[in-house]
Symmetry: C2
Subunit: 339 residues, 2 copies
């Protein structure tokens, strides 16, 4: 039992991995996209303008794909997975809008953030609108257990963000404390997205638990790889869209590792640049150099691989299917992606 | 049929009016408060600290009282009205937190706003946390219709705020346009708070419609009186906590009326102070003087009285009861209050 997936670097295969999932759920994702367009409509023009800026910004729609694939793997044949997938994407988009305000971000995926175009005020309010719509959508499915899971996730995500705010700028953050933050702020929504796939299929026992575990561990792996990519990834190549976390003074796992493994002089560098927020030209390059010296990016990816392996094992209780294969390969994609 | 309530100024009676409602629901409101304290708990200390700053800031808890009284008037004997009342208060508190960020307010009811103590970032995130908790709480009641009503209200409130943002600073705003804004941003939550009282009592037909109408019209009246009080009320006495709307450049009904009725010179004043945001010492006093000259505050209160009368008539289909009396008198309180 269990598919053995070697997780060494292979970007070509990683790409095929997500393509396989995308092909499997393509028709349903088209329905999800249609639904999203329909439900972000408002007679107040700024609402769909701003919402569509982010929703159409070329994200992979990873989270709604997870809901579709999870429910199909559980044998679901109804229509509510479309609504729940749209709910998950709305919740994610609302979180991004508020995150950009909280982090004062000017760029996301190399594009101007909504707040730089429409302002912080509109970003906060349209985020609230999308949260309201997300709840409205999921109420329509009448699945109280799914409602419970998603509303729980919504609180936990916000709690994780506050936790990060409180821990922000503290270079002494432990790896455990950082994991608690990302379990809440990132992995909780992945876990909800997959667990509800089991729940609407009437699989509330070990299958719901397995999918919850799959989503949670995949989410942690995904975030850790994101953290490494923000410094150029394992290859540490400083391409575009790199350095956002550094410029925002965020403490992520690569920093936690580089700080702990660093010399007194290096620690002083991290304190100056992130704790005190005093950054100069050339500091980003120096940060990457220190990370490479201590294998911080490589080891962040190794940690991601650890959580990825747990996610794959969680799926082993499901009978073999193209959905299970695609979800398994997706873990590889998340770890080996370079963007 | 119908209780005749003369709505002329009588602050003493207005005060008794809310005291009567408070006495009727005192025990249940104690349970609501207990519930709120319990459910705003979090292992992240900043969350309850910030939430309790606002929740314990001495508001009248008008909205949750409406849910309790409405359900009891419909003969409800269960326990879920406590949870729904707490949901309504959480939603209201989340909205206030985000409003203060959007409006850049430093004071609320004469006290420092959460954002001036904990910052905008924490206010946005704790608002999101409270929204998540609100949904979690109402899911526990398993009333899908109540869930639908409240999630709908959550979207509409945010839409109303965006509408206000888009119309902000436009002194040419019509009274109709302004009413659309407050119907969404204020009255939608009042309407939801009262309608769910009927819904959980199994009164989905004309009683739910009556309570929805009561709440909506009471909410509009409440907001209009608030707008007048922000310039000192009908008496136009510039006490403390006055002038917030003016300082934030908000277009409210007193401004709409004073602008439309004003001379060219007065219109230029409103444009300079609110549209262009160029305010000087003495401008607030001048604004109040112009409003008095055109009976703008008095007429704002008259408009409020109109909506209050509709709210009272909406209740007429209910058999006489102490709850109906208290809800009727509450309209008078909302209109005649001086704070």
């Amino acid at each position: 039992m269990g598919v053995v997936v070697p997780l060494e670097e292979d970007r070509g295969r990683g790409h095929n991995a997500v393509a396989q999932l995308q092909a499997l759920v393509a028709a349903e994702m088209e329905a999800v996209n249609e639904f999203i367009r329909e439900r972000m409509a408002s007679e107040v023009p700024m609402v769909p303008e701003l919402a569509s800026h982010l929703i159409n910004s070329g994200g992979k729609r990873l989270r709604p794909m997870l809901t579709i694939a999870s429910s199909r793997m559980c044998g679901y044949t109804g229509k509510d997975h479309i609504k729940l997938a749209a709910t998950v994407e709305f919740l994610h988009t609302a979180t991004l809008l508020h995150d950009d305000v909280v982090d004062e971000s000017d760029l996301r995926r190399g594009k101007r953030t909504a707040r730089t175009i429409w302002g912080n005020q509109a970003s906060v309010l349209v985020g609230d609108f999308l949260l309201g719509r997300a709840f409205k959508l999921m109420v329509e499915t009448k699945s109280l257990r799914a409602l419970e899971i998603i509303s729980d996730a919504a609180s936990i995500i916000a709690e994780g963000e506050v936790m990060q705010l409180a821990a922000a700028k503290d270079t002494g953050t432990t790896e455990d404390a950082y994991l608690r933050v990302i379990s809440a702020k990132t992995a909780a929504l992945f876990a909800a997205a997959t667990e509800i796939g089991a729940v609407i299929s009437g699989r509330n026992g070990s299958e719901a638990a397995a999918l919850e575990s799959y989503g949670r561990n995949l989410g942690i792996a995904f975030q850790l790889v994101d953290d490494a990519l923000d410094y150029g990834g394992r290859a540490a190549s400083l391409g575009k869209n790199v350095g956002d976390d550094f410029r925002e003074g965020k403490i992520t796992l690569p920093v936690v590792l580089a700080f702990r493994r660093g010399t007194a002089e290096e620690r002083a560098f991290w304190q100056r640049t992130l704790q005190e927020g005093n950054r100069q030209d050339g500091d980003l390059e120096k940060a990457v150099e220190f990370m490479q010296r201590h294998s911080a990016l490589e080891d962040t990816t190794s940690r991601a691989r650890h959580y990825g392996a747990i996610a794959i094992d969680a799926l082993a209780i499901f009978p073999e299917s193209e959905y299970r294969d695609a979800l398994t390969l997706l873990v590889e994609f998340c770890i080996n992606r370079n963007h």
